[in-house]
């Protein structure tokens, strides 16, 4: 019952918090920002050692078979620590694509590697949001360039939606990112996410789905968006806590600044935004688990409120800290960067507002 965490869930969260506070601090992230195409190996090793890479993958394929709720909660903790690699969410996108659309053979070939973290996955599905430009797929080969893909600089596997040049229809494909793909790492304001543009020149790609491939791509994207909503929520919570703690300690005009309502109310507003985001995220997680309800709509609501909550918390936490908050040495800019990175990499507010509006409107008889 994910709305109320049970003991197993609580344990997952506590374990994750324990390991990350021992072995990882946002400090590790700072130096990553100055390099392009870097990610934090230590963080990733922790993820692998903890089995997080295989949380949702069945035991048959070497995973933990725990289901998406456990992954959501883990993502929330990772969000609190601004984890230094995007593979948890992107890898989930790839393993879900395989679980839902892959043949036995494809699952056999790829899932075990994803489960133990030897292989990493990336997704390029945002074009499913708005029918944007796609890669071209001709006779089993992929050509063209993607937009910025999170984890694109390092991932081994990519799931994307391409256009079948023969039929003009969509096709959901899996492509191995070996020599055939030319990742071009891109400098961004959050370099720890490994953003890259991928260039394909007639690279062999395997078909996952052709029928309703656009819808399938959107649903996969929505699934990943739910995991990311938890990561965003974790980040927002961490910012709120930092702001609160600072407001309780920092003195000005003979009193803690938390006594000034301009400060105090802003932190209370963070709480309000976070709780709305949490409500939606939990609802969407239930949908993920049960394959029930309109997942895309619920994921959309979760995403919109999570974007709002994280950006508000990150921005206003900096404001609450005054000048110290904008220094390189302070952690808050890591959250600030990450809040915008997560808001953009799965498609920004606009296209998601459209997706949500389209579905809400369709639900109301003309």
């Amino acid at each position: 019952m994910p709305f109320l965490l049970d003991d197993d869930h609580r344990q997952i969260v506590q374990e994750a918090e324990r390991v990350l506070s021992d072995g990882w601090s946002p400090d590790g992230l700072r130096h990553l920002l100055e390099r392009v195409g870097a990610h934090d190996d230590r963080f990733w090793t922790t993820c692998r050692d903890m089995g997080w890479t295989g949380i949702t993958i069945s035991e048959d394929h070497g995973g933990l078979g725990l289901g998406p709720i456990a992954l959501c909660l883990t993502a929330e903790v990772v969000g609190r620590f601004v984890g230094g690699a995007p593979f948890l969410s992107t890898g989930y996108g790839v393993s879900e694509a395989l679980r839902r659309f892959g043949s036995n053979d494809q699952q056999g070939r790829y899932l075990a590697g994803l489960a133990n973290g030897e292989r990493t996955g990336a997704i390029d599905l945002t074009s499913a949001l708005d029918g944007g430009e796609r890669l071209a797929w001709t006779d089993g080969r992929l050509s063209g360039a993607t937009g910025l893909v999170a984890a694109g600089a390092w991932a081994d596997l990519l799931v994307t939606v391409a256009r079948d040049t023969a039929t003009g229809g969509d096709v959901l494909v899996l492509v191995a990112l070996d020599e055939q793909a030319h990742p071009e790492p891109v400098q961004t304001f959050d370099n720890s996410r490994g953003y890259a543009v991928l260039h394909f020149n007639s690279a062999p790609a395997e078909v996952l789905a052709t029928e309703h491939a656009g819808d399938a791509a959107l649903e996969l994207l929505a699934r990943v968006a739910v995991i990311v909503a938890f990561e965003q929520l974790g980040g927002a919570e961490a910012c709120m806590e930092r702001a609160r703690n600072f407001a309780n300690e920092r003195q000005a005009f003979g009193q803690p600044i938390g006594k000034f309502q301009a400060i105090k109310h802003r932190i209370a507003e963070m709480y309000v935004a976070n709780e709305l985001a949490r409500g939606n995220a939990l609802r969407a997680a239930l949908s993920l688990r049960d394959d029930a309800g309109d997942l895309v709509l619920r994921a959309g609501a979760a995403r919109l409120t999570a974007i709002d909550a994280y950006e508000f918390a990150a921005t206003e936490a900096i404001q609450t800290h005054g000048a110290i908050g904008i220094t390189w040495e302070h952690d808050l800019h890591l959250f600030f960067r990450r809040s915008r990175a997560l808001a953009l990499e799965l498609g920004g507010r606009g296209p998601w507002q459209d997706v949500v509006a389209r579905r809400v409107i369709a639900g109301v008889a003309a």
């Binding site: 109320l4 609160r244 009193q255 709480y271 985001a277 919109l304 459209d354 389209r358 109301v364």
Partner: protein, 401 residues
């Protein structure tokens, strides 16, 4: 929700089966355009119908006409009631604050006398806390109660008293010790609003209906037996009353104003830049954000139900509802009025528009939501202080004198 127990799902089914045949008589559509008086009369009949079927006072003890169930059934019932637009709001104050306080603190005879008729909708109760000189700062009330033998004599003025003009009784906080520090000198009573010396004057609100009142107490006699709690204990009890209120917040009947469907239908008809407004990105953004906000609130309510089912107190996150609901309502209503263009100006107060069905009324009523039952600022203070542990404001009233 998949997580409610089969028993509770069965309860919900029974409630739905009970309510559906009454929709034609008491539902949203039947109430359109009714005057306040007529709507209250309808509400009394609905309350009596519920009482006859054992659905009034779900959480109240059976010996006083209640059903002896838990908050859980209550929340489920109220949600179904709200979904059908039944008129229940007029009894929300009575049954959420004064009567539960009476159940906690009054004598068995008093309970037997007052609780059953209140449940049947025969009596309405008011809450007389606010005064002209004070609202947010509840402990600053000036209305005096002076001991006179077996009685107290109350004099002073209350204000913003919702439904006082329809009320038979009320709960009141009055100052019994002017020399004590302000939080200590108050005492809590219930009062007969039809008694000698009580004058009720309706106050017209900005949207022109008069739902609240000034209430004057001119040497009104109250027997000491009508005192709840100890002398000097009034502030604590008043705060306890407001805490009980928290449970009902989630079931707020007025919630978000007209449903989102209504905005969508409107946007389908209206034109912007020569195209249906529904295709306009600004309109779609309002729809999407309002939907996301409403779903978030719904999830918070559902979570509270489950907390209750698991035997835990729901968290204070319930206080988010009013704050967020009022803002969401504003966004949606402004969008709708904009789409209506100059037609958005239409507002016929004489037709008694209701916030749930009329965008202009929803917008006109929005400032009310931000003030009644605690202002936005006080809500944020509560979140900040009680939930987040931030320090209290500078409080010169608490400095040693």
């Amino acid at each position: 929700m998949t997580s409610l127990s089969p028993e509770l799902e069965a309860f919900r089914d029974r409630v739905v089966a009970f309510m559906d045949p009454h929709v034609a008589e008491y539902g949203q559509a039947a109430r359109l355009g009714l005057s306040l008086d007529d709507d209250i009369a309808l509400a009394r009949r609905w309350q009596a119908t519920k009482a006859a079927a054992g659905y009034a006072g779900l959480t109240f003890p059976t010996e006083y006409g209640g059903a002896g169930l838990t908050q859980l059934e209550q929340v489920i019932f109220v949600a179904e009631e709200a979904a059908r637009g039944f008129p229940a709001g007029y009894f929300v104050i009575s049954l959420s604050m004064p009567i539960p306080m009476m159940l906690r603190y009054a004598t068995p005879e008093q309970k037997a006398r007052f609780v059953p008729p209140a449940l049947r909708g025969e009596q309405i109760w008011s809450q007389l806390f606010s005064e002209p000189s004070t609202g947010s700062d509840l402990a600053a009330v000036r209305t005096r109660a002076v001991r006179d033998g077996e009685d107290w004599i109350i004099s002073g003025q209350k204000v913003w008293t919702t439904f006082a003009q329809y009320s038979d009784y009320g709960v009141i906080v009055a100052r019994t010790d002017p020399d004590a520090p302000k939080h200590r000198g108050l005492t809590y009573f219930f009062v007969d609003l039809k008694a000698q010396g009580v004058t009720v004057r309706p106050i017209r609100q900005l949207h022109s209906a008069a739902e609240f009142n000034e209430v004057f107490f001119d040497d009104v006699r109250v027997p000491d037996a009508w005192r709840l709690g100890g002398v000097g204990d009034g502030f604590r009890l008043a705060v306890e009353t407001l805490m009980i209120e928290r449970y009902t917040a989630a079931a707020d009947e007025t919630g978000f104003g007209p449903p989102l469907d209504a905005l969508i239908s409107l946007a389908r008809e209206a034109q912007l830049d020569g195209r249906p407004a529904l295709e306009d990105g600004r309109v779609r953004a309002v729809i999407a954000q309002a939907y996301a906000t409403q779903q978030g609130l719904l999830a918070i309510s559902e979570k509270s139900i489950l907390e209750l089912a698991a035997g835990r107190e729901p968290g204070p996150e319930g206080s988010i509802h009013k704050l967020v609901g009022a803002r969401g309502r504003r966004e949606v209503a402004l969008c709708a009025l904009d789409l209506l263009g100059t037609d958005g100006l239409r507002f016929d107060a004489a037709a008694h528009p209701r916030p749930k069905t009329d965008f202009a009324m929803s917008w006109m009523d929005q400032p009310t939501l931000r003030i009644a039952g605690g202002t936005d600022e006080m809500l944020l203070n509560t979140v900040a202080e009680r939930i987040l542990g931030l320090p209290q404001d500078y409080r010169p009233d608490k400095l040693p004198r």
